[in-house]
Symmetry: C2
Subunit: 304 residues, 2 copies
């Protein structure tokens, strides 16, 4: 199986503590790195992860609250000092330029590489990145300001050739592409050999959904249906439900309800409020609803 990991660089919420860094994650798909959110201190956490800075070309910012983007200026500067030359694309709400442009103008006049802001809409799902093996789509969320999650979908691989059967039917090389694409083979005698006899099915494409920050929002369920891994914010516990509603955040129990309704394979909880002394309270609460549940923590990486 090709590499598809999520690295947690920070999983605290707005108030940083000595236990948690503010939000940042790296998705590693086949050694291409994609950063989601970039709170203060992200560059040091990135360094700690031992992932290669040079493998990162795209950063996705869910929304413009400081705990999700105040690490960008330092990260951008550091990349410059390290001699980066490759373009860095930052995908975010259009207001990102109001924040970042003055900083780039003042502090980064001699940056040896280009920073490109790519704005996205936050009201409906939008395909914002695509390459040979991956699609990234926004997941509209409901927060105090415009906010999106991100759905990382592997593209379906083509079927794998069954070498033995290819030899057996003496299928010529120029037909191989068609076979990989699922076509049957017709022998010189006109017999039809079904594709299923000539190939092994490809690995099913995997999906990772990142949903933070958001109030409990059932509208996302359809889009994240059946994902292999769901990261969902669980800022509060159920005892602070009024506070969760007021601040447009989710409780651990509600996150588990979303996971259950979306029939996801695994739930990863994060964005923990600093008010709780022990994060285990989030896990206990979520597990009452949805068993395949895990707590995010700085330094954790998890296979999708």
């Amino acid at each position: 199986m090709e590499k598809f990991d999520v690295h947690i660089l920070g999983c605290g919420s707005a108030l940083p503590t000595t236990r948690h860094f503010p939000t940042s994650q790296i998705v590693n798909l086949r050694d291409k790195l994609f950063m989601i959110d970039c709170g203060e201190g992200t560059q040091v956490q990135f360094r700690r992860s031992k992932l290669k800075f040079s493998r990162l070309n795209h950063i996705f910012i869910s929304h413009l609250h400081g705990d999700h983007c105040f690490g960008l200026p330092g990260l951008i500067s550091t990349f410059g000092m390290l001699g980066r030359t490759a373009e860095l694309c930052i995908h975010a709400h259009q207001d990102m330029s109001k924040y970042l442009d003055p900083i780039l103008d003042y502090f980064c006049q001699h940056l040896p590489y280009k920073v490109t802001l790519i704005p996205f809409e936050t009201k409906k799902p939008e395909l914002i990145y695509e390459d040979r093996s991956l699609m990234i789509t926004t997941i509209p969320l409901k927060h105090r300001i415009p906010c999106c999650g991100f759905l990382f979908e592997e593209k379906a691989e083509r079927n794998h050739i069954n070498r033995e059967m290819i030899d057996f039917y003496q299928i010529p090389i120029y037909q191989m592409n068609r076979i990989k694409n699922g076509e049957n083979f017709i022998t010189p005698d006109g017999d039809i050999i079904p594709n299923s006899r000539l190939t092994f099915p490809a690995n099913p494409p995997r999906k990772y959904a990142y949903c933070s920050d958001t109030i409990y929002n059932q509208k996302i369920i359809e889009q994240i249906q059946g994902v292999d891994l769901l990261f969902h914010e669980a800022t509060f516990t159920q005892s602070d439900l009024p506070r969760a509603k007021e601040t447009y955040h989710t409780t651990a129990r509600q996150a588990a309800q979303i996971a259950l309704a979306a029939n996801v394979k695994k739930l990863l909880l994060g964005h923990f409020s600093a008010r709780y002394e022990d994060d285990l309270i989030f896990l206990q609460e979520a597990k009452e609803i949805f068993l395949k549940c895990q707590l995010a923590s700085e330094g954790l990486y998890i296979n999708v």
Copy 2:
């Protein structure tokens, strides 16, 4: 002796590492806190120091490089979330407003307290803060951009009353202020009792000088003459002297030469480049010139 401590929150240079945070310090004079510089991650280091956020009302930024100010937005936001109401004064070069105003406008619209930028000149020494017990003066430095160090000077205390002698000479209470101010006492018989018999001398006022970032600059020696503690940057070692000159930084040896020429009581080295594996190399180099020398490190606090 009244409290006069320097707490090191970060003492690395521009490239943050897992060993050092970028620059920030807290000067604690009689439980009033003064922050010098505010690199990324400062708020968490401040929290770790166990000093009280509410005791901080003044921040001094030496210059507008990211490793000295990228922690401000997070710190300001966090103070807001914690319900701060007292004004926060930020003393810096006038360009600070180009950096901070857009951030305050976008992220801090509902801040429950006032942030006031107080610009200072960087070309000649200027008194930028004064209260009953303290004066803070800028120390013009030579760096790639306008930059100042800061001289913290305790004000001279009045002499302490020698209670026994006051009783012996039956000096009336209303005379006490004059005696504290150094006047002699004249008895009803016309005898002159010299002040030195009636008081103990006050503690000599202490001085702390912060000098970072700067190229080796003998012009500062006069202003920091005889300070109790000198923090001087030592970004490089002597083997990287050309690099130090090129980037307008100082070597450990040069910092020690400044300390020696200024006849300071103690030298504290910091702003270490990430290129050296072991900071002890700075100490060894400096001690060849100036023995009373110590390395800064995160979490260290030192009595002035």
